[in-house]
Structure formats: C-alpha cells, structure tokens
Symmetry: C2
Subunit: 134 residues, 2 copies
DNA sequence: CCTTGACTTGGAGTGGACTTAAAGAAGTAT
DNA sequence: ATACTTCTTTAAGTCCACTCCAAGTCAAGG
C-alpha cells in the first residue's frame, strides 16, 4: 500500500504519516527496492495505533518511547506495560475532565433552551449570575 | 480576591489568568481604584467556566465568541445556544475517540499483563502481529 | 530519450495556547 | 521616606504537532 492510499484510508495527510515515522512513533515502514514506502499489514497496525492514541491525546513523545522499547525486544515488556498503564491513567483523567465539562455544558444548554422558548426575555437579572450551577 | 489567590485556588498561573482576560475568554475583571484585579464571585464563575471548557478541549476562539455574544445582551441568546450545542457535539466526539483508545489500550494492557505473568517469554512470534486485536 | 506525476529528503514555517521578560507603578512594612 | 513585594503592561519567546517547501529520484507513457 502506498503512502497515498494509507493517507486516504485513515484520513491523515502524507506529511503526517512521514512525520510519525521520522519521529519514531511507528517503526520504519517497509520500502520497495527503490526506497518508496510500501505499507504492509503490520505497518498499518502501527499507523492505526498511533492515530488512535493520538486521538486520545497521548503525546508523540510517549508513543516514541513505546516504540523504542518495543524494538528492543522482550526484555522491555515490563517497562512497556508500565508505560501503557501510565498513559491509560492520563487518558482516564482526560475523560473525567471532559465528562465534567459536558455536565456543565448540558446544564447551560438546558437553561438556554428554556429561555429561548419562553420568549428570550425571562432571564434578565439571572444573566449576571452566569454559571451558577453547583 | 487577588489574581494570586485565584491562581492558587484553581491551580492556574497568573499569566494564564491575564491571558484569558486579554483574549476575551472572560469578561473584564473587576479592578480596584488603583487598577489592580479584584476578582468578584461573578468573575470567578467565568474563570471556572473557562478552565472547565478548556479542560475539555474547547478552543480559546470559541470561548471568546461566546463571551462576545454574552456581552451583547439577550438578543444573542439563540446564537449562544447554537454555539454551545456545537461545542457540545465536538466534545462528545472527543470523548468517543477517547473511549475507543481506552478500549484498545485496555486490551493491550491485558495482553501485556498475561505475558509478564507467564514469564515474559511466551509471546515471541505474536509480537510481530502487534495491535492485532481490532 | 523526455516528460509527467507521485514519491523521496531535510529543513523551514505555521497555529494554538500559553509563558517569560522587561520596565514601570502601587500598596505594605520598617 | 525607603525598600520590598506584587501588581501592571506590551511584546517577544517557547513548545507541540504538524504542515509546507525546495530540490531531487524513480517508474510509466509517448
């Protein structure tokens, strides 16, 4: 699979794919005799993982470290496990913050919906209180 | 409340608080006669809202727009409601991506835990398959 | 052989969100 | 009053994660 096809498959730019590889976020991609990237299944697996974890806000740096350990073989398994657990924790915290914001936003939206329905004017003095929830 | 106290209360730097205000992410903060920031309850409400929504990944730009509308009064209520709904949607999508990554991460962690328990070596050939679990 | 177009590289540029620096004014302790 | 701390401002700097560019290479069609 060419870089163009991979780029289209995952909706990510070719530049970004090259960037991921250059940084070491994924191991070196398989090449043709002429040196052109020819993504194999395993390469795609890494690309998918990278996209997935980046989507969750994991840093490039952490991914690079994970790949570095991975390439050093079985002896780094424990270290990799710890890295993943730590990242998991960070992601869980991110989700908690998102949930918190969503609750707040939903509350606000609810108030606005009522206000808009009731003629947009029944709110006046409350307006200054803004963000009163909780 | 001084900027220092607010900074400590929310674990955010004084610089960031001034930055938020300068950008218009929060309305102008109350000042003393000498021009020094003296945060009132309502100012704190805005700060909290800003921190909360930034934590969820909402952009500075969107918050600025919201505040801008808010300061224009009741006539912008519908526009604000739409803005909030749109942001809500974006945040929900962010959470979905996070959930997806968490599932994947948990699967991976599970595999690593087993491998580490079983003596760190029972994995060998599987290693190349990496990320196989959908 | 020559052109076209997709690929290669290294390196510079961009955008968002802070963060730091520099210079000066105001409130507080002695 | 003098010194110290904490505030003020504007402007420049930093960090991250891309994103774009210039110059060059390679395979296929005419």
């Amino acid at each position: 699979m060419t870089i163009r096809q991979v780029s289209e498959k995952y909706g990510i730019s070719q530049d970004t794919l090259r960037y991921y590889e250059k940084m070491g976020m994924i191991p070196p991609v398989t090449r043709t005799a002429g040196g052109i990237r020819d993504y194999q299944e395993s390469d795609l697996g890494w690309v998918e993982l990278a996209i997935c974890l980046r989507n969750a806000g994991m840093s490039v740096e952490a991914m690079v470290e994970y790949v570095r350990l991975h390439r050093q073989g079985d002896s780094t398994m424990r270290a990799r496990l710890e890295l993943l657990q730590k990242q998991r924790q960070a992601i869980v915290e991110r989700r908690e913050r998102i949930d918190h914001a969503l609750e707040r936003l939903d509350h606000k939206i609810h108030i606005y919906e009522e206000a808009v329905e009731n003629g947009e004017l029944t709110w006046g003095q409350n307006c200054s209180k803004e963000n009163g929830g909780k």
